[in-house]
């Protein structure tokens, strides 16, 4: 496999940031949270050039944290990220512009006091991709590319709708001419009809510009639509990774199967219009994950082994891995449905 983006053994722990007062209180027995959160544990991923990797999971699974590590925004506790061999972070700083991010909330990710043209041109000017006199034309070209009227470069963010602001955010990321794009829930805050527009824009741009993408979302249908491969995360670990059609069609991990099954799906030509099942229990707190396999308390296939031994990622096929002691049973179950 031709690896372009390599995420090597990333772990990130959020330590409880206690003030001196809180530390004393904790010693005296007050209820202060001193535990740290293992947001991401031992994640290793490789993405090919031009591929879109979807990252899915529920809240607390670590996908946003992992996204920020890959984007060079957050320095991981251990591990490193490299694009085409070159490291993303060095000496606690991001040293490349080759990876850019589109954030979730289009209302919060644009500086309300700056003209949108300046927001988009700021990075390119600082990194020499364009000059101050040329900036206007440079931004205008990117505006057109994302479907915005170049006349609007002098307007302020509050004058745009949510979908338009997200286009501006995309223009900002692309104006840096990145090779890798991290999209953190880019359509979650948008209306359904606008989502379709932005998803189409995303597909078109990633194809035209040959971008390698990591698409983070909790919306499984969106991920299924835009990704080539998908990684499913649970409490900071990747439980399954593989081509979208395979993982969605024949999940190998019990969590994947349960998760996909619990999303209401409109199946217009079936007798039952909406199909879904419910999962037992809730995601445990990342402050105190279960022993052994994190999913075992809720897993229908769990055995004693699962309570004591953390499963490692095993190869199911060439492009597919799963971290489960009983994945073969899971695959067999799905086939028999």
């Amino acid at each position: 496999m031709n690896i372009f983006l390599h995420i090597d053994n990333i772990s990130h722990i959020f330590k409880a940031n206690l003030t001196a007062g809180e530390r004393i209180a904790a010693k005296l027995g007050a209820k202060v949270e001193t535990r740290s959160v293992r947001a991401v544990s031992d994640v290793t991923l490789s993405v090919r050039k031009g591929e879109t990797l979807g990252l899915v999971g529920e809240s607390g699974c670590g996908k946003s944290t992992l996204g920020r590590v890959i984007a060079g925004i957050l320095l991981p506790t251990t591990g490193k990220v490299a694009i085409d061999g070159a490291p993303v972070m060095e000496n606690r700083h991001k040293v490349t512009t080759r990876v850019q991010t589109v954030f979730q909330d289009p209302f919060a990710s644009l500086d309300p006091r700056m003209k949108v043209g300046d927001i988009v041109s700021e990075g390119p000017i600082a990194h020499g991709l364009t000059t101050k006199p040329e900036a206007r034309k440079y931004v205008a070209r990117w505006f057109e590319r994302v479907g915005l009227d170049p006349v609007w470069v002098d307007r302020y963010p509050h004058q745009f709708s949510g979908g338009q602001r997200q286009r501006i955010a995309i223009a900002r990321a692309l104006a840096m001419q990145p090779d890798v794009l991290i999209c953190d829930e880019p359509v979650a805050s948008l209306d359904v009809s606008i989502q379709a527009q932005i998803i189409n824009l995303f597909l078109e741009l990633t194809r035209d510009l040959e971008l390698t993408c990591v698409f983070i979302s909790h919306d499984l249908s969106v991920v299924q639509h835009v990704s080539d491969r998908v990684a499913v995360m649970y409490l900071g670990r990747i439980v399954e990774l593989g081509p979208v059609a395979q993982v969605f069609g024949k999940p190998a991990h019990p969590y994947t199967a349960a998760l996909f099954g619990s999303v209401p799906k409109l199946v217009l030509d079936a007798d039952e219009l909406v199909q879904f099942n419910s999962i037992e229990g809730e995601v445990p707190s990342p402050l105190s994950p279960p022993s052994g396999c994190y999913y075992h308390p809720r897993c229908p296939l769990a055995t004693a082994l699962c309570g004591t031994s953390q499963p490692v990622s095993q190869k199911v096929s060439d492009l597919r891995t799963v971290a489960c002691h009983h994945y073969k049973k899971q695959l067999a179950e799905v086939l028999s449905d």
Binding site: E58, S59, S161, G162, G163, Q164, D191, V192, S193, I194, Q195, A196, Q197, I199, N200, L203, E204, H218, D219, L220, S221, V222, Q224, H225, V226, V244, A245, A258, L259, S262, V263, P264, K265, L266, L268, L273, V274, F276, N277, S278, I279, E282, V283
Partner: protein, 327 residues
């Protein structure tokens, strides 16, 4: 014909802001039968949330109900005084909000909050309130409910908090519950649990529900009938399965077609061009005309709701009918 438990006719709520009059809800009418679950679907700006708020009389200045009628159990709600409305709110009609964090008072335990809610309408002794609260918490699926009465909201997860909100809404056995996007802020798996729970609860208690959502799949899993809103109006309504399988209004069809689930992976999605109109300055005629591919000169006039056996659509050129020659 059984009398509907909730009858809304021509409900109109406007917001009188500095920038102009925002016609958030512009003539909404529907009936809700006992034990029926209706889905109110729409995107942001469609007026669905303001409709819900209007039913409970929770619209704050600068907005107010300008005209129309809301009849609950035969009583007209829009003309009631503040006190009379308050005595019905929570007892005959109650609401569940989207954000479970802000619904519950962080300073009170669950038990205290539920007691407050109980005392608001029919004060019970401490023991009786505890019993009632425990009964309801168990009904909504909270384990060890009696012990949980002494916990604070922040000790609960989001899903649990929403269940508590549902329990509070059910305390006085209301005839109608208005649920405004109650599962949108929750994880997928929790959403699934709560959807199943609500379905069972509605059946057990006979409570009618209005489920407001932007998510067609979620709302269709519960509701037996749907009303689709656009720009403050209901543009289509009907039984869920019929409406989704054969939509008549181009907006409904566009919504269904633009779902990622409807397309082959990797292919461009069907998209509705343009953006939702500003409620401040709506052009005359059909509000969807600027984005519609079936538009003709006729659409410069405002379409009325065409009703046909509990199926309704507000369009001059509904799908399933040949597009007429331009006038």
């Amino acid at each position: 014909m059984i009398e509907p438990i909730l009858s809304v006719k021509n409900l109109t709520t406007h917001f009188f802001t500095r920038a102009g009059v925002v016609k958030a809800v512009d003539g909404v009418s529907f009936d809700l039968a006992k034990g029926e679950i209706m889905g109110l679907v729409g995107e942001s700006g469609s007026g669905k949330t303001v409709t819900g708020f209007s039913l409970l009389g929770l619209v704050d200045a600068p907005g107010r109900i300008v005209k129309g009628s809301v009849k609950l159990n035969g009583t007209e709600l829009t003309t009631l005084s503040g006190n009379e409305l308050r005595s019905r709110r929570g007892r005959e009609i109650s609401m569940i909000f989207q954000d479970p964090i802000s619904t519950l008072n962080p300073m009170l335990t669950i038990g205290q909050q539920m007691k407050l809610a109980i005392d608001a309408h029919e004060p019970l002794s401490v023991r009786a309130s505890e019993a009632r609260a425990t009964e309801l918490l168990t009904q909504v699926g909270i384990p060890s409910a009696k012990a949980r009465l002494r916990t604070y909201p922040h000790e609960f997860s989001g899903g649990m908090r929403q269940r508590v909100a549902i329990a509070i809404a059910l305390l006085h056995r209301p005839a109608v519950i208005v649920a405004d996007e109650p599962t949108t802020a929750l994880d997928v798996s929790i959403q699934a649990q709560i959807l199943f729970q609500m379905r069972d609860l509605a059946r057990e208690t006979g409570t009618a529900m209005i489920w407001i959502s932007h998510d067609l799949a979620v709302v269709s899993s519960l509701a037996s009938k749907l009303a689709v809103m656009y720009a403050g109006r209901i543009v289509e309504e009907g039984r869920t399965a019929t409406l989704l399988r054969a939509p008549r209004h181009p907006y409904t069809a566009g919504l269904i077609a633009s779902l990622p689930a409807a397309a082959k992976p990797g292919t461009p999605l069907t998209q509705i061009p343009g953006i939702t109109p500003s409620l401040l300055s709506m052009p005359p005629g059909c509000p969807f005309a600027p984005r519609c591919d079936r538009v003709t000169g006729r659409c410069e006039a405002e379409p009325e709701m065409t009703l046909q056996n509990s199926r309704g659509w507000r369009c001059f050129h509904p799908i399933g009918q040949l597009a007429e020659a331009p006038v």
